[in-house]
Amino acid sequence: MPSWLAGIVVLFVGAGGCFFTEVVNEAPVSGIRTLKDGPHFIGETLSFNATKTVDDVVSNLSCEWRAFTCQDSAGTNCTPIGEPEFYGITGEFEVLVESHETIKIQLQVTDELGATRLQPDIVTIDVNNRAPSIDLEVTGHKEPQTDLFVLYRAIDLVIAPGVGGGDDVTLDPDGDEVTFSWSYLAPPGSQESARSFDEVGEDGYRLVPDVSGQWTVTLTADDGHGGTDEITKTIPVGVDSPPCLQSLDPVADTSGFYLVESADGARSFSVLSVVDALDPFPMSPGADEVFGTSTFRWFLKEPGAASFTWIAGHVAESYAVDPLNYEPGDLLELRVEVQDRVQGAERELTCADDARACELNAGSQCFQRLTWGVQIQ
């Protein structure tokens, strides 16, 4: 039995006579149900409907929904989001979460006779913050053999999205503006005046190391809402290794003398390619500006001479032996050494002057000097 009918019956039974009664329309009783449990985040659409509703006379109820953003969790300093929306008792109210502010939902239920509760139903929803997620891309010139970044050469560090982060614009799942702070730790012996760590563009730094060792760079990201992320990269730095002669034409075979015939004219002895981190040869057109190219030093041991003579000023990749400058039967030795750019002092070969081939380390097959035997005919 409905409660209102029970009340009338009681009134009749208790009075025992005939009297007039007026039925009082009571306001409906309602509540707010949040259709999805928290935590809740920016970008999410919140859904609500009205909970168990009681009314005294009718059930044709109207729900007025309002949403607010509030600067505090108590929901006292709030700003409306859009206009009120009206639904029936089974309707769902949706609100898109667009900021970190607390969401306040207000429900006012009215029956068809106009009865409504004095105090509307209210729920507040706290919006959780998600921290940014960052990574660091480290690029620079590395030694082919050791994979170390080359000393004195620029190493670029560029902010990149981390796993679970946002897109490459915001780096923050909530789309918050992220501020970054950079720091680095130099190995022992580094001098502040000799190294550099400078901002490049809006999302990167450039490190130019002045000593070998493990450099560390730390990047911290802060979204301004308590969310932070930090990443540290260890950057191994080593000296620029000497270049290696890779292929020559003809092959610098030490077992004999190549023939240069007068009838054929001058013959070129050439370096075809050199392996080096910064100064490879040849350098392709349009290559990275940081790349230089190897240079060569040529030496000639003239017929009957006791030692090699440096061919001053000749730095090209090949040297032509002109038989017209010699007599048939003359034996020469032509030597090429490769050099790259060196920070500071000249690089000296460690081999003896009379060594026909000079290898960086025994068995390394990294030759910095090779020699051709040449016979004029």
């Binding site: 796993v163 890779q246 292929s247 034409d249 003809p250 075979d253 077992s255 004999g256 003398f257 190549y258 023939l259 007068s262 009838a263 054929d264 004219g265 050439s270 075809l272 390619s273 040869f281 040849p282 392709s284 057109p285 000023g313 002109d322 017209l324 400058n325 007599e327 048939p328 039967g329 003359d330 016979q375 005919q377």
Partner: protein, 598 residues
């Protein structure tokens, strides 16, 4: 949300599969015109599930639609999705999709140049190894220059020549150069007793200019190996001991190069070298060409006698180098008539001219003695001597006698030549003097003064404007070389430069600019009134190419371009060179052949 980690894991796995054997784009180059190449798999391998191959067109022209199709190879199956891009110099071109799924597109080139086509694809969600190709579109009315492209590989594949046409008017794409890996042939060099002979071995590609030589050295046991193309060769074997003569084997196949070669037992040929009076010349080095191959070398005794080992029967040439300081010319002959020689022969080589004492006092431009000045008497001496076995043949000679001026600037030397030029290089490097064809026998000079080097003016232009920052290089020719090295300068904003040259000297001038190309000029007799220019540089284009050995890229391969129909020095001059990168791609600048006015 809970599915996300799983999705990431799958993505990473997919990438891993693709990357496992990728190593880069499946690059390919389609050449201009009908030789356009077909893209081929490169270093793909391992667990790649699908690989793309681009099929470029066989013919292209401005305004003519170019159709490109992609083929998917591999084990992957499922829905095919393609993504295409076409650009010219970084500018994206409009494309039309011709099928669904889009494995064919077309675009219409509006101008000449290399169009880069890239395609990527997924098959059943699996990312395939992508592919690129570059398609050349030749300018309307383009002229062409023909070259021989010589490719020297770093991988051991034999050097090979290719004919290539370069069209003008825009950057070009050369046809894919596919080299043969060659065949490894092995052989053994034995002497007449069957013992191994360590030797220098050269197989020269017949009729190649400049010569293409395949060289190696045999071991102590005489074994050697060479990688050769399927061609014919002239083979030269030069024993390293110096006690056995060289041997020629003409017109051999690659298989015939790689065989057991037994050298015949040598014949000893004796002879004498005499001066014009008939006296023996001591200390001269003699080597004869017998049947075209070099004999062993011998040095003459006090009476001028020598003996050399030969492996043939006919004297075809000789080289004679007199002792240093003798004042005698070197004698060379490459094509004698072929007089028969043998154990009983007596080869007589005789100088034609007597010795003359040349003495000159040299002063610098200030009038003082040119102390330390370097002097050379130089002459090309016609009929400098004779050689005779059964009959007498004339020999030409080259005189080159050097001396250094003493403390009063005086030089003195014996010379054996009727006429000779004298070249003096001042010790300071800024003064010199050249006197040509001084008649030392009848009208010798006894004094000369040095002169300051001439500032030879040169002007350069390109595209109708003065060319700044061009390198100007003057290389001394003839009797100035090699005592005088090249001189260099750089053009100023007005296109002018000056190089210091010796008055009366001959120079090959080269003006080179990275973008405008190069131009050469020859100065036969540099004088104060000589002006060179304006020398017009032709402009350059970039030529792209791809080198493969069979189907694999040829990194490190050196590509040299030679003029296809030139003679003399121009035939051996390298017009452009480049070295292929890790994908076999190379590019170089070369003279723009231009376009015809239409």
């Amino acid at each position: 949300m809970t599915e996300l980690p799983t999705m990431r894991l799958l993505c990473a796995l997919t990438a891993g599969l693709v990357l496992a054997g990728c190593g880069g784009d499946n690059g390919a180059y389609g050449g201009n015109g009908p030789d356009g190449g077909k893209g081929g798999g490169t270093d793909a391998g391992g667990s790649i599930d699908c690989v793309l191959t681009l099929v470029p067109p066989t013919d292209t022209a401005i305004g003519q639609a170019i159709e490109v199709s992609a083929q998917v190879d591999g084990a992957a199956f499922g829905l095919h999705e393609f993504t295409w891009s076409v650009d010219l110099g970084g500018i994206t071109q409009n494309i039309t999709e011709l099928s669904d799924p889009v494995d064919r597109i077309q675009f219409v080139p509006s101008e000449a140049g290399p169009y880069r086509v890239a395609v990527s694809a997924t098959v059943g969600g699996l990312e395939c190894l992508s592919a690129t190709t570059t398609i050349g579109v030749v300018a309307t009315g383009a002229r062409k220059n023909s070259y021989r492209m010589r490719v020297v590989t770093a991988s051991g594949a034999p050097t090979q020549d290719m004919a290539v046409d370069v069209y003008g008017g825009s950057d070009v794409v050369l046809p894919v150069t596919v080299l043969s890996a060659g065949d490894l042939v092995s052989g053994t060099i034995l002497d007449s007793t069957g013992a191994g002979v360590p030797a220098y071995i050269r197989a020269r590609l017949r009729d190649s200019v400049p010569p293409v030589d395949y060289e190696t050295f045999s071991t102590e046991g005489g074994e050697f190996s060479l990688t050769l193309p399927d061609e014919r060769f002239d083979m030269l074997i030069v024993p390293q001991s110096g006690t056995q003569p060289a041997t020629l084997r003409s017109d051999r196949t690659a298989a015939e190069v790689g065989t057991i070669l037994t050298l015949v037992a040598p014949t000893t040929i004796a002879g004498r070298v005499l001066d014009s009076e008939g006296s023996g010349v001591q200390g001269a080095r003699v080597s004869l060409l017998v049947d075209g191959a070099k004999t062993t070398e011998a040095t003459t005794a006090a009476d001028g006698a020598f003996s050399v080992e030969a492996s043939g029967s006919f004297l075809t040439g000789l080289a004679l180098a007199p002792a240093p300081g003798s004042g005698m010319p070197s004698l060379r002959a490459e094509a004698l008539s072929g007089q028969a020689v043998g154990d009983t022969s007596n080869v007589v080589i005789r100088y034609a001219d007597p010795s003359i004492v040349a003495q000159v006092d040299i002063t610098n431009s200030g009038g003082g003695g040119a102390v330390g000045a370097r002097v050379e008497w130089r002459a090309d001496v016609a009929a400098a001597g004779t050689v005779s076995v059964d009959s007498v043949e004339s020999l030409d000679g080259t005189l080159r006698v050097a001396a250094t001026a003493d403390a009063i600037g005086r030089v003195q030397s014996n010379i054996v030549a009727r006429d000779a030029s004298i070249v003096v290089h001042g010790a300071g490097g800024s003064e010199a003097r050249l006197l040509r064809d001084v008649a030392w026998a009848t009208a010798p000079i006894s004094a000369l003064s040095l002169e300051t080097l001439l500032a030879l003016p040169v002007t350069a232009e390109a595209a109708g404007s003065p060319l700044e920052s061009a390198d100007v290089r003057a290389v001394p020719q003839g009797i100035l070389a090699p005592q005088f090295g090249p001189v260099q300068s750089v053009t100023a904003a007005d296109g002018s430069a000056a190089v210091g040259v010796v008055r009366g000297g001959a120079y090959q001038l080269q003006v080179v600019h990275p973008l405008a190309g190069e131009v050469g000029a020859f100065v036969a007799d540099a004088q104060p009134a000589t002006v060179l220019g304006p020398l017009v540089l032709p402009g350059t284009i970039v030529a792209h190419g791809l080198v493969h050995v069979d189907s694999q890229p040829a990194p490190g391969a050196q590509v040299r371009l030679y003029c296809d129909d030139c003679k003399g020095n121009d035939a051996v001059r390298v017009h452009a060179s480049a070295v292929a990168d890790s994908t076999g791609h190379f590019m170089f600048r070369i003279a723009d052949p231009g376009v015809d006015d239409l």
